[in-house]
Symmetry: D2
Subunit: 425 residues, 4 copies
């Protein structure tokens, strides 16, 4: 207590001589903090072939980014992402910025020879996403890898669900329901932040929450959505301008200090898969009392699965091949050592939390890089999601008419050589 401040302590040992993997992260807000936890923890818990090093973090506000670097253990701070992506100690660029800058940074980072992890959604437009897929394909030729950060594939329970579907435990799938319910926009006096303006955010609940459930649906079913019919709604159409609003937002308002919300508050859509599976989707920020209710129910001929992100250590499973007298949805506590990702964690019943999805994401990406295997979800998977979201918006604009989605070719999960379950799990 009375001793002077000590010099920085080592973040890690030499990993038994393991090669390092230098990570450079762009963006340092909510996702930046979550990714930091992931990178810092992955090598502590899992036995990785490479040792992740938190080399540098980048943000425009120098003081803030330096404080964040000190807090989260990044060795250096940058204020220009162009500088970050060319650093020698950076092998992988981790993009945690808002969606409108993803394409530019990702394409440049790939051009600079780095691996790339890009937060979801891959981009704000289909066009940007297509350019990113092209850039990733070109980089792949040079041995570089690219992944999009749909972290909810890395919840042990969803990974187990995918494994069970792939094993045929549900038989032919019939339908699924996926909802993502939050409630933080219910108050009509919540201000008109950039997230509620189309030019900045692209879309509302659809892009933010809908992207997750579309990706999960495609991941679980193992094929892309073939078409959708959609309805979107904005319940609170005018909100107070935020205090200290930028001129752009201030321009949005009339003289009364309020401005129009230009994105959806909720999106409902139904969809079809080529194999005949049908699905319903709901994304909303207006479900009072639901905080993070990403819920899935998947019904197949031989069984069903259900999941709720608010209880993320559990997977409900009904085995329809059992005698009816003893059958029923069972609550699997997904904390057994032979469950996905659980080999390295705590004893049964000692659950994980939200942030561990980022630890698992880091773990899987490190394995992919070390082995030169294309990681999933790929940029093509991210593009596929964008195409679905674009079709949702098109359908909603055209009286909900069924709108086909062009499949990305090839999409990861349906390529036989790219198993959809993590190979190292």
């Amino acid at each position: 207590m009375t001793k002077p401040p000590q010099p920085p302590q080592p973040h890690q040992g030499d990993g038994g001589g393991k090669p390092p993997l230098g990570v450079g992260m762009v963006g340092y807000a909510f996702m930046g903090a979550a990714h930091s936890q992931g990178w810092r923890t992955a090598g502590r818990v899992f036995d990785l072939p490479l040792s992740p090093v938190l080399a540098a973090v980048c943000g425009r506000d120098g003081d803030a980014v330096r404080a964040m670097a000190g807090r989260h253990g990044w060795a250096a701070a940058e204020t220009d992402w162009h500088a970050l992506i060319t650093r020698d100690d950076v092998d992988l660029v981790d993009i945690c910025t808002p969606g409108d800058s993803h394409a530019e940074i990702a394409i440049a980072a790939l051009a600079a020879g780095k691996h790339v992890l890009c937060e979801k959604p891959l981009a704000n437009t289909v066009e940007e996403a297509e350019a990113m897929v092209q850039a990733a394909a070109a980089a792949r030729e040079r041995g570089q890898l690219a992944m999009v950060g749909f972290n909810y594939r890395r919840v042990p329970a969803t990974a187990l669900a995918r494994k069970m579907v792939a094993e045929g435990r549900l038989g032919a799938l019939r339908h699924l329901r996926v909802t993502y319910l939050q409630d933080w926009l219910v108050d009509p006096e919540f201000p008109l932040t950039w997230r509620l303006r189309k030019e900045a955010a692209g879309s509302g609940a659809l892009g933010d929450l809908g992207a997750h459930i579309v990706d999960l649906a495609q991941y679980l079913v193992g094929e892309p959505v073939a078409g959708v019919s959609a309805l979107t709604e904005t319940f609170v159409r005018e909100r107070p301008l935020p205090a200290g609003a930028s001129s752009g937002l201030a321009d949005a308002g009339g003289g009364d200090g309020r401005g129009p919300v230009t994105v959806d508050d909720a999106a409902l859509f139904t969809g079809r898969f080529a194999s005949g599976v049908i699905a319903s989707f709901e994304a909303t920020r207006f479900a009072t009392g639901r905080k993070n209710a990403l819920r899935i129910e998947l019904n197949g001929e031989r069984g069903s699965l259900a999941f709720d992100l608010e209880r993320l250590n559990e997977l409900s499973y009904h085995d329809h091949t059992e005698p009816g007298a003893h059958a029923g949805f069972r609550r699997i506590l997904v904390t057994e050592p032979d469950h996905p990702y659980l080999e390295a964690w705590w004893p049964p019943g000692h659950g994980l939390g939200y942030e561990h999805t980022f630890v698992h994401q880091a773990r899987d990406l490190v394995h992919a890089i070390a082995s030169g295997t294309a990681p999933e979800p790929s940029f093509a998977d991210g593009l596929q999601v964008q195409r679905v979201l674009a079709a949702v918006e098109e359908s909603a604009a055209k009286n909900s008419v069924y709108t086909p989605v062009l499949p990305v070719d090839p999409i990861g999960p349906v390529t036989p050589t790219a198993p959809t379950t993590p190979t190292t799990v």
Copy 2:
């Protein structure tokens, strides 16, 4: 034990001199048994102004209907419904036959001067339903009443939900999700019964299960569905002909003993209400492990409600006006004496079952008849449901395009003089 069979015992006392209400029931299968329980029990538990008398039951098979009459306590049996509806001891005709005979019997019974209770769906077509509404309106002039049997309005928890919505506890409604999930058609070897042929059943899961959830949605929101966008699917398109199939069904098949399923196995649709509320609906018989999962979630600005028919004594309620630190969905056990219908039942926590919805239906209808008040749901409410189902089929046939629903004028729940909560509750 050793005594000879005694003569029939009185079904009831004289009810303290209460006037009787003679009931004549057409149909004696599943619904007939359920209605019998309702009529036999209502006056035992509730203090009714009239004393229901199980006067006569009608079915085409004389032996079977006589056995049913003996079993369930009906004083007489008929084999021709024309005879039943003109009996002097019948004041009310309760129609429990399949949907294709509803219109004919109901219109004739009303013409014969009887009150009518008609099982849901009101009819198999909009045209039949319209004729029934007209007949009911004409009979209303003569003091006769008509009601359609959407019994799930009479679950105490759904009645409480409606009461809470009407009281404004949820504030402005935003959206609702309603599903009705069953699994009895999953086996592809389940035979091609009449329920799977369009000419007999009208539609599949849509008419059977969808009718219930459309009615409940309109009841809870308090206004009719304004339009829908729909997708339907038949997963198992050919099934074995049933043993002893009638020639009609036998004709349906090829030489291989199988025939085509001509109704939907599942229906997914979204909808809008005039007030801006949006909704998603799912009706299916292919959700393995779900036996009777009529689930509702209703999200409003000030709170939310959730219900599951598989746990029918419970209503989940989130009060969004409470401080966040102590808020959460609460499980109301709907067994308190001040809950709808509970004044006459058991102590708190001693739950009711499915059949009690029919007791409550009988109770409410007896009160309506005694007071001359139009009961709900009315035939107009039944017609409104039929129009929604027809719009669903039209939308599904037209690439899911949004299809408006013509409002029935006047629909009960939005008429100010006809409160949607049971007046006697």
Copy 3:
């Protein structure tokens, strides 16, 4: 409506010539209403060998009992139970009075040649219960049967639980926890009714709620409790005298209009079974928010079961022989046709309620009488429960010291020739 009151309608047909079973009931409050529902419904739903006839009901207040008879369909009313038990049209005496009159009425009814169904607890004292067992044994020689009304054995889920234990699905049992939690005494201003006075009620939560859980524990384990260690408590030791209190109660109070509570508010005890199974029990009327939470968890070497009376259509089952990766507690909806008692009820998922336990009780007793088989739970089973309760009180009075319970010989459930699962289920 305009017709004059009709003469009493037949309660039932001739049951296809089935012999009647005349029931005479003593007591007509809460239990009387529940038993009436049971007797009136059993023959409507189940195919019984005898046809129950609601012959006469007895109570001291003539007007009240006549009104109850009219309401619930009893053919006659009596005001003296001595008259009731000697009626020619009464084959079975159903005793629904408070516990302090059980012994006298039951012994007299058996002496009068009647079968007897006696509500739980069998008696208020072990001595009374022993006399009843003796009377029942003597009557058994004459072909008369006697049963005690532990109706919770007739919840389909508890009957299924017993069946699964008996089949060995749980393997060697290790321990069970049984609680019965209610909250209706929490308010300290709730008056000092007779239930709170030892001279009238015998004991408090222990006799009322504890009796049920002791019987269920013995039923499920299949053997009697061998000994207990107990702790009881009275939280609110003085309460206001009830308005219009009888002189006896008024005497209980001081000059301040309050009097002492002389029974337990809660009882906690642990117990051992001869086979090595251990158990914990809790009965309380002070668990705020718990309305009827009779909860059981039974843990065996090969699996576990859990039940909650507040969700009485469900049984939770963990099959420990399954691979851990897919195992978990499953929610069995106990509404399948091959579940106990369900063969005659509604389709899967259409649940039953509290009152159906009395229908099932009537059904089982009618089968027993028709076949001359001793029904369960027997008076000996009732005595066994009383001995456990007495041991609980003794232990509580002696510093919780472990107090053995003398086994009744022979207790039904461990007699090989008397299967503990309903033979006709």
Copy 4:
């Protein structure tokens, strides 16, 4: 990838000049890994007054402890705890060894001038625990602090529960039920490890699981257990000797390769608190299907709380002051920013896991050290738990007779100047 291994990376920045707190940990198995996560993460997430430094870890096997140090980021490794506790860079000794070495290490570390965090149980015997309390009191005079690691006080939901009790939201407490159910010993072929031998482990489920629930009960009620009545059982009394068993264990066996289990498999006990609250406890390793079911229910005059460690982000709360018609147990998702410990974590609904209890423990201890405030639970709290466990064993050995527990004076939670809620929450 192709670059050579880099030198160790900094574990943290300089913390903005924050003084470091050097941690030296003894033991490196399960608890060692969990504590490592806690120390490494606390300063990343929370704004701490001191910056924890993972200075050195100690274990007898040099290779293993060095590997662990590299894996988990400890700067140095020691093989002799005497060396560790005298290191200059160690301010705090964190004891994660089995219970039989706690007293010796803790007393020595305090004598060496270090703060001490000691895993639960504080010791294997009351005598050792008393010596530790004395040593801690003496060290307190010198400004050193000591804490025992009952980490489940640091689950946000349990901390919230304590806060709500302390605020009077439950009114006068009546009773609580606490169980800790696991199932890892069910298999009779599970080997006879040291945990199943009294000389090594002290007791079985009682010391391992029972210690947690006794501490939580005392924490939540806010006073010590006054006395207990107990029953313990060993279901599997002989087990195979473990492969490679030490001679000590081998000696335990007969010639058949099996040896006796000398600790309890399960412990059931009831207890009283001085204020009149009563409690029931169950600790077992034989509840098949229960993995980590530490369950609490606390019933008070004005409300109730319920918690299950298998769903650790939730707290159930019934507010009995609400009108009955809308009351019910609500599920509070304990993930709001104003919940204990949540100010620094993720948005609402993004749950935490088991390991975060160790992050919170580190956070609270760092605050205590920085401010010189005695942390809780204190060694006296740990001694109090030991005394309860000893009384349980004594009661179990004496026919379950009620056995008083001597209160430790002064015990933290009942000292008015030492609030039981974390002061910095």
